[in-house]
């Protein structure tokens, strides 16, 4: 080992491992390294299996946390001052424009990544309980993941309310009114969301506190649980269908060390089978890949922030509503749903806000939540990309995803003033008037 390497190691390490294997064995002595297992199969680690979307989402969350704290030094959650502090961030604060853009881009990317991650988990059947895995509970982890998806969207929603620009004001107005459409308790929900009967200072401080403290804390806790569950489940679902080598006679008994074993002087044994796949030690193979993912995620966020700006609409004003008033892309499909389900039939108006804004999304979430328990496909489809035996459910799932994508496309590209359909080549009227 070179002298410089020895020096830097002597600063940070109390003992220096002589090899990668020894470094990996340090897992047993180090709480941080306990996060990941000492060995991972090549299949779990492969780019093609998971695209590392979970890790990317976590890294984006970390970027959001760091840039978010910096923004907290400048932002003031007051209806009079919020907008001006954002303008200060854009034009006065050193590197403020860049930090704000990184925050916004990481937010959009995180919503996209957790969504893609969910799609990957579904299509690989990684949410399913497999009979061999007695101690695992992958359906539970799917539920935690769903909760994280909802939290990500909530974090994003509470976040873009903070600049108190026109987008913020009218997004809360619409959201609160959709909440009001819930029968019986709707008005109460809206009152709680707004902190009153009007959207004012109470509203802003509620959403600010949710965004910077409550939701991040819950999200961090759930992320920790989510990753812990992966270890408890034995690793990624990719390992479930790796062929197991037949061992002559019984399974191989082996030693394992547990806290109980050390304290009580008892050493329990586990039975293990050899799996037919190459494995790699955490150091260096997996750590190396984590480094690459970290670099690329940061690079993409910084690249986008250098060359693409993020919007800031005019200061919030109740006197006029932007025309058209569009939600951010990940909510546009809901906005389209609300439009589509607002139907007038023979004098009766179907409340699109309730049907498209509450019922349909609610049913989708509910369906996603119970699906692991309704899924009847065989164990051989766990941890496998697009297996034959799951072609129907995968197709239906993909159709739903595509439908959501189409709705997002319509909402972002084809909708113009007064929410009319305008083809890309049709010009919007300069002064939209009521027809």
């Amino acid at each position: 080992m070179s002298r410089s390497r020895k020096t830097s190691r002597s600063i940070f390490w109390s003992w220096s491992p002589a090899s990668g294997r020894e470094a990996t064995q340090a897992v047993g002595f180090n709480i941080l390294l306990h996060w990941f297992p000492a060995k991972i199969t090549d299949r779990s680690r492969s780019w093609g299996y998971s695209a590392w979307l979970g890790t990317i989402s976590l890294l984006l969350f970390a970027i959001l946390a760091i840039t978010g704290v910096i923004l907290m030094f400048v932002y003031v959650p007051s209806v009079e001052r919020a907008y001006h502090t954002i303008k200060d961030v854009e034009f006065v604060v050193s590197y403020g424009w860049f930090i704000r853009r990184m925050h916004r881009w990481a937010a959009h990317l995180m919503v996209a990544c957790v969504f893609l991650h969910m799609i990957r988990v579904f299509l690989t059947g990684a949410y399913k309980k497999s009979r061999k895995n007695i101690h695992g509970n992958r359906p539970l982890n799917w539920l935690i993941g769903l909760a994280l998806l909802l939290l990500t969207m909530l974090l994003s929603y509470t976040g873009y309310l903070l600049p108190w620009d026109q987008l913020a004001l009218w997004a809360i107005t619409i959201g609160a009114n959709i909440a009001r459409s819930v029968p019986v308790i709707g008005e109460q929900i809206r009152f709680l969301m707004q902190g009153g009967t009007i959207i004012d200072q109470n509203t802003l401080i509620i959403w600010y506190t949710l965004h910077i403290a409550v939701l991040p804390l819950i999200t961090t806790g759930l992320i920790a649980w989510h990753m812990w569950r992966i270890r408890k489940d034995g690793g990624l679902a990719a390992i479930e269908n790796i062929p197991v080598e037949e061992v002559k006679g019984d399974a191989i008994p082996g030693k394992t060390y547990t806290l109980m074993g050390i304290t009580q002087g008892v050493r329990p044994t586990v039975l293990y089978h050899r799996i037919k796949d190459k494995t790699g030690l955490f150091v260096p193979t997996t750590l190396h890949r984590i480094g690459i993912v970290l670099l690329f995620t940061t690079a993409v966020v910084m690249f986008l922030s250098l060359f693409f700006s993020v919007p800031l609409e005019e200061a919030a004003s109740l006197e006029w509503t932007p025309n058209p008033a569009k939600a951010p892309w990940y909510f546009l499909w809901l906005q389209e749903l609300v439009t589509i389900t607002t139907v007038r039939v023979r004098g009766i108006t179907l409340n699109g806000g309730f049907v498209g804004g509450v019922v349909i999304p609610g049913l989708l979430v509910l369906l996603a939540a119970v699906w692991p328990y309704l899924d009847r496909s065989p164990d051989s489809t766990v941890g496998v990309w697009l297996p034959r035996k799951r072609v129907i459910q995968n197709t239906v799932f993909l159709l739903i995803i595509i439908a959501i994508g189409v709705l997002i496309f319509i909402g972002s590209v084809l909708r113009g003033p007064n929410w009319g359909i305008y083809m890309p080549w049709e010009a919007w009227p300069h002064h939209p008037t009521m027809i």
């Binding site: 760091i66 840039t67 910096i70 030094f73 400048v74 200060d88 006065v92 604060v93 050193s94 590197y95 403020g96 860049f98 930090i99 670099l295 940061t298």
Partner: protein
């Protein structure tokens, strides 16, 4: 022994080592650059504080004697047609001093030899610092005297006090 190793012995920096150095420098630079950006952004470039130059109204508004201006944290003293100001911020740790009216005017000889007649003194409630009527500190932990500020008449007739500019104790604005 492979050729590369043989060459590595002759050349100080191998290709592998060069790339390692390049990578470390780039990543190190990126980390340092980001940290610098994040921390530098917290330091304000623009201050939204009240100005040190303050308009305090027309001279005819001020009666004979002294007036305490709480927002500007200073005393405005008028003797006939002459004005002067004394800062009300205690030089010890920044509390606002209190005016203490004396039972009868006192003649005080200051340490530098000057003699003044004062009708009031300034006492600080926080740690007991005491100042003469002209701001001279004579008791307590205060390290310096209460400074007087520069004054002039603004174009519209108001008195303009510059709390960023200190003047001598015998400075007077003549109206």
């Amino acid at each position: 022994m492979t050729t590369t190793e043989q060459q590595g012995e002759a050349v100080k920096v191998t290709r592998k080592k060069f790339l390692k150095i390049l990578t470390s420098v780039t990543i190190g630079g990126a980390i340092f650059g980001n940290l610098y950006m994040l921390l530098r952004s917290i330091r304000p470039n623009v201050l939204y504080e009240p100005l040190k130059k303050m308009l305090i109204g027309k001279p005819k508004k001020y009666p004979e004697g002294q007036v305490f201006l709480p927002k500007e944290r200073m005393f405005v003293i008028r003797k006939g047609n002459e004005f002067n100001t004394v800062s009300a911020v205690c030089t010890h740790l920044g509390c606002t001093v209190k005016e203490v009216k004396l039972a009868k005017p006192e003649k005080i000889t200051l340490p530098d030899g000057r003699v003044i007649v004062q009708e009031w003194e300034y006492h600080c409630p926080c740690h007991g610092s005491k100042f003469r009527g002209d701001g001279t500190a004579y008791a307590g932990p205060a390290p310096e005297d209460l400074p007087p500020f520069d004054m002039k008449i603004a174009p519209d007739g108001d008195i303009l006090v510059d709390a960023g500019k200190k003047v001598d104790k015998d400075f007077r604005l003549k109206v």
